[in-house]
Amino acid sequence: MKRYHIYTKAGGILSAVMILLIVVAMFWTPYDATATNSAAKLSPPSLAHLLGTDNLGRDILSRVLEGAGTTLLIAVLTVAMGAVLGILIGAFTGYYGGPLDNILMRICDTITAFPSFLLALAIVSILGSGTYHVVLALGLLFIPSFARIVRGEYARAATQAYVDNAKLMGAGALRIMFVHILPNTKSVLLSAIAIGFNNAVLAEASMSYLGIGVQPPDPSLGRMLSESQTYLLSAPWYAISAGVVIILLILGFTLLGEGLAKESGQNA
């Protein structure tokens, strides 16, 4: 079992560091992330600017931290929304099955079949751009994957003896679903959340990269990456720092999620 602890330890430390940096960035950043400084345009990493400056002379480290904050916020809210609604749908469809199961699964298939990019754009353009609308758009897209996983677990659990036992004890359906069965899906849920987080960060970054996600002046790693392409050769640190922060964010949380899932999961 020791190997899995490595995942949890490594993931735990990495995500703790990232969260710490992001929380600090909410109150203090080496420079004001939006302060332009025409003298120090595209200067390489130096003591003054640890990660250098961008084409408007803004400090990349501050922008990257704030950008990571937005991305983390969106990813966490998206996964939360997707997981909660996914569990609700998955639980009912898995436990009861029947016509309800068919209808909900059809809707889930529709959402998955739909190019996430277009659905996100539709929602963002109806409600107007902004961080919380992106969350709504992405959250909707993540429900099917959670619903499907939870449905599988519940369908399997419904046949187990301890569910019959719970019925014998006089437990109501809701209690069985959320007090008895749910804790047993912990390991599957945790790994699904780890993967969900990975996809959420990716989706937010890609949407901002294409210019429809988080809009300026809110900082976003995706948009920084798209802007950095113009200065790829003369200021590669601009692209690299934004990209590496995304990777660290994803790596930290996925490792943590997988480690916890493996530890709590009976089937290794």
Binding site: L56, G211, Q215, Q229, L232, S234
Partner: protein, 516 residues
């Protein structure tokens, strides 16, 4: 057992062969690309021109709307007359023209032996068909495509090489409208396979990929040295990479930052974007309806700082709705009208009843980096005087319908170019009657001087009236006029001959290899 192992070995073999073969052949194939500059067939000069946005617009010269399409089609179509790089109108399809004393009848003589790209000669009927089509005088295509042509009363052929156009009232600028393209009569698919008389003819087009032109060998004028042109559609972000990799040889409308990135490898030709770049204000909205507030905002904006940050110090400031390339109309003295003085701005705001500023929504289209970066700098400058500006980014489609068509916005950042080479195109927008008056600007004196300008009979009269219009716009601070953005063109170091025109045009006919 054997089958199993063979299955896995086979798989490994395929993947190895695949990867080696591909990287191998890609290695040598692409390696040479940057040296001998792609298919530089000995017969002529082939160049790739970068376009940041696809010509997702009809290729029919009379129906194109976006500036990006017009600048490309300039190489394919010609009107009776066509502009040269200094802004004068030179004969094209028409060899010569005579304007009657009362300026009501224009007589054009068609150039001897001039051919369309499909080999047919240009006849008087083609010219009449083209003019009538624009004026909306054809039964099958009733709607007028060029508004200024509403003035035309009759178009007829005196003989097979002369065409006479008579108009209802004299208009000094009417000749510049006759740059609209002459097309073969009855040819229906201009929208997808255009045929004109220009130095280059249309070959093919693939959506989001390229538009291919080639030299029209029977062109009446001086034949261009460039034989093959491929306009490559690339995204705004990857322009620099494509230039540096040698994928494109020439790219116009670069931001100064992009130009700086490639200055080592390419020659950078500088000129004006020929558009009026500014923060356009909705004068019907609180508190922008108060002229003092608008003047205060003009004082709060530091154009030099914007130019330094966003345009690398390039670009020429403007004071009103006119850009320098229009030499005869441009009022140099209006440029410094509102000197940058934040304290004065705050004072004026206080006097106008806004001691602690106000909230302002700045709606900007997200697909042009210049707009986005300028917006962020403007927000900083306005915050310094207490005005809390908030950026609302929308994509171009939404900007056109929400801001331009429905005018539901407070302030926006955009640049307006002149679709035809006339001052009217830049100033008519602010007359009270104009349907799309973006600033809801209305001033009787302005309307009067504009009317005077368009009905003027002499150049001096027209110039004075247009200048008067500009002065009113500036005094009334209809908008915060910033500058004529720099237009940087990167051209491969062994080529030269790129010329700037006062209107949106990329003329490839004069590009040639530098004489060693």
């Amino acid at each position: 057992m054997k089958k199993g192992r063979r299955f896995a070995a086979l798989l490994m073999l395929i993947s190895a062969v695949l990867t080696v073969a591909l990287s191998g052949c890609s290695g040598d194939r692409a390696g040479t690309a940057s040296e001998d500059d792609i298919s530089n067939t000995p017969a002529g000069l082939a160049i790739n021109v970068g376009l940041a946005k696809d010509l997702d617009d009809s290729l029919d010269p009379h129906k194109t709307v976006s500036a990006g399409t017009k600048e490309v089609l300039f190489n394919v179509f010609e009107g009776l007359v066509k502009p040269d790089s200094d802004g004068n109108l030179i004969p094209a399809v028409a060899e010569s023209y005579v304007i009657s004393d009362d300026r009501l009848t224009y007589t054009f003589t068609i150039r001897e032996g001039i051919l369309f790209h499909n080999g047919d000669p240009v006849t008087a009927d083609d010219v009449i068909y083209s003019i009538k089509r624009c004026a909306g005088m054809l039964e099958e295509e009733p709607e007028a495509l060029v508004t200024a042509f509403s003035v035309i009363t009759d178009v007829y052929a005196e003989d097979d090489r002369t065409v006479v156009i008579s108009i209802a009232s004299p208009d000094l600028e009417f000749l510049s409208y006759l740059t609209s393209a002459i097309i073969p009569e009855g040819y229906t698919d201009q929208a997808t396979a255009p045929v004109g008389t220009g130095p280059f003819q249309f070959v093919s087009r693939s959506a989001q990929e390229n538009i291919v032109l080639k030299r029209f060998d029977e062109y009446w004028g001086e034949k261009p040295e460039v034989t093959d042109v491929t306009f490559k559609i690339i995204t705004q972000d990857t322009i620099v990479t494509s230039l540096r990799s040698g994928a494109i040889d020439l790219c116009a409308h670069l931001t100064p930052a992009q130009a700086a990135e490639v200055s080592g490898q390419f020659d950078i030709v500088k000129g004006g974007m020929n558009s009026v770049y500014g923060v356009y204000l909705n004068n019907s909205v609180e508190p922008l309806n108060n002229v003092e507030v608008r003047r205060a905002l003009c004082h709060a904006i530091n154009v030099e700082d914007i130019m330094a940050l966003v345009f690398d110090g390039e670009g020429t400031p403007v004071g009103s709705s006119m850009y320098p390339a229009f030499g005869k109309y441009f009022c140099e003295e209006l440029t410094g009208y509102y000197e940058y003085d934040p304290d004065k701005a705050m004072q004026m705001l206080a006097d106008a009843g806004y001691p602690d500023g106000f909230d302002l929504k700045l709606t900007v289209a997200s697909n042009y980096t210049q707009y986005v970066e300028t917006a962020q700098v403007v927000v900083e400058q306005l915050r310094a005087v207490g005005v809390n500006a908030e950026i609302e980014m929308i994509d171009w489609g939404t900007w056109v319908s929400e801001v331009y068509a429905n005018r539901n916005y407070e302030a926006t950042i955009v640049d307006f170019d002149a679709s035809t080479m006339t001052a009217r195109a830049l100033l008519e927008r602010f007359t009270s009657g104009y349907a799309k008056n973006i600033s809801y600007f209305s001033d009787e004196e302005y309307d009067a001087s504009f009317a005077e300008a368009i009905s003027a009979t002499t150049d001096e009269e027209q110039i004075a009236a247009y200048k008067r219009c500009q002065e009113i716009l500036t005094e009334q601070a209809a908008n915060i006029y910033l500058m004529d953005m720099p237009d940087m063109v990167a051209i491969r170091s062994d080529l030269e001959g790129y010329e700037f025109y006062p209107i949106f045009v990329v003329d490839l006919s004069k590009i040639h290899v530098k004489a060693e």
